[in-house]
Symmetry: none
Subunit: 226 residues, 2 copies
DNA sequence: GCACACTTTGACGGAACCCTGACGCTGCCG
DNA sequence: CGGCAGCGTCAGGGTTCCGTCAAAGTGTGC
């Protein structure tokens, strides 16, 4: 579960945030001043910090620096100040986002989700991979794995696979497929498709003559299914 | 250098941003519609994308999805819409930040710095030393060790090795390789690659004619594998 | 101005890849 | 039942791409 540390000296705001976050099954800690915030952060290791800049005991930017001294936890700053200098100072001190009061709860939550999401450990070096159970496709690394072994694809095969995977689950018309892989003037050379789909299936499908992932939609196009 | 992709259909805004960014020594690409944006992102691998939502050819959220299909590059959304729903939709589609027009340039740049900063590999966390069993590469010290002995590399050889190792496991396109090592105008001099890959293999591979770590992907590029 | 190391360039054999045409199969319709 | 259209399969030939080598160019330090 995601743990949030809410820091604000206004009990109303803290209360509202805590209720909203708990309702969405976040785990919430709250602090009313900077010293408590730093202590709680160290003790509880939150996944994200929501920090009001107007604290009674210390400057908000100092809290950010205190946190950044030892952690890269996402910090989402709340502030009543609209001044550009304030924002720049907070962001350059290490904050991840800056929301001015009054704020919409929906927006705040969306920004919080974004902050948490990007802090998640990336697969490998930060790549999105598609897994079918039989093989995996790593689009950024241009890598296909099948039972632990790398599958070698030619440029055309890869390009075709790429277009299909990017439209995973959706039907891709043969004209679109041809034009994206071979170029705008190749919209009718459907035999290319037949040849290369066969190669992809031979290299990736467990039973190439009964494909489970590269589906033919007769007369229309092809579809990639996990 | 940090590379930024600016996407906006308003030439004024693009111009203003490009000037501001270049003055701060960012490298800037610009696109005025979604299709161009996606193509440029794939071709140039920017470190951060500044994306206006109101594009002429496609919905901005679709551009975000198109990018998120294969990359985690930070996306900073610009928009004239203040509606909370718009923000939530963009952020949940995978955007990292959302700035409403009109925006302060200082604030935008600060948010951009924040986005780039947190995308950087963690300090001291990233493995500076890569070990293949046959040889080790120390990126920080710029040293290569093979069976206890230092391997002497020329500047170009090192530069090439560095790019490959930084993308360990991933395929690096020959154009990208050429442009990163020799400069933006050398994107087609593939014979350089052939010569220098051969030298790297001769110096580092146990059996240079059957490379295990510097893999050729014909027609696409090269890949470094531990 | 010479020696040395590095980069660039050109040429060539061989490997990998892409296109192409032919054929068989299936399902549909006349 | 026969013809037709769409799809899958296969193999050969032309073309592109890669590894290798050698030699010419470039720059730097002595």
């Amino acid at each position: 579960m995601t743990r949030v540390l809410v820091v604000d000296d206004d009990p109303q705001i803290v209360r509202a945030l805590v209720i909203n976050l708990k309702a969405r099954t976040y785990e919430v800690d709250a602090a009313h001043d900077g010293a408590t915030a730093l202590r709680l952060a160290a003790a509880r290791h939150p996944d994200v910090v929501v920090l009001d800049l107007g604290l009674p005991d210390m400057d908000g930017v100092e809290v950010i620096r205190g946190l950044r001294g030892w952690t890269r936890v996402p910090i989402l700053v709340l502030s009543a100040r609209h001044s550009s200098d304030e924002k720049v100072a907070a962001l350059d001190a290490g904050a991840d986002d800056y929301v001015t009061k009054p704020f919409g709860v929906d927006e705040l939550l969306a920004r919080l989700r974004a902050a948490v999401r990007r802090a998640e450990p990336a697969h490998g070096e930060g790549d999105v991979i598609v897994d079918t159970g039989e093989f995996t496709v790593d689009l950024a690394a241009k890598k296909v794995d099948r039972r632990g072994k790398d599958v070698r694809l030619t440029p055309t095969e890869w390009h075709l696979l790429e277009v299909l995977v990017r439209n995973s689950g959706r039907l891709v018309g043969q004209k679109q497929l041809l034009q994206e892989v071979w170029g705008p003037s190749y919209g009718t050379e459907t035999n290319y498709l037949r040849v290369y789909m066969a190669q992809l299936r031979r290299k990736l499908e467990a039973d190439p003559s009964h494909p489970k992932h590269f589906i033919t939609e007769p007369g229309m196009g092809y579809r990639f299914e996990k």
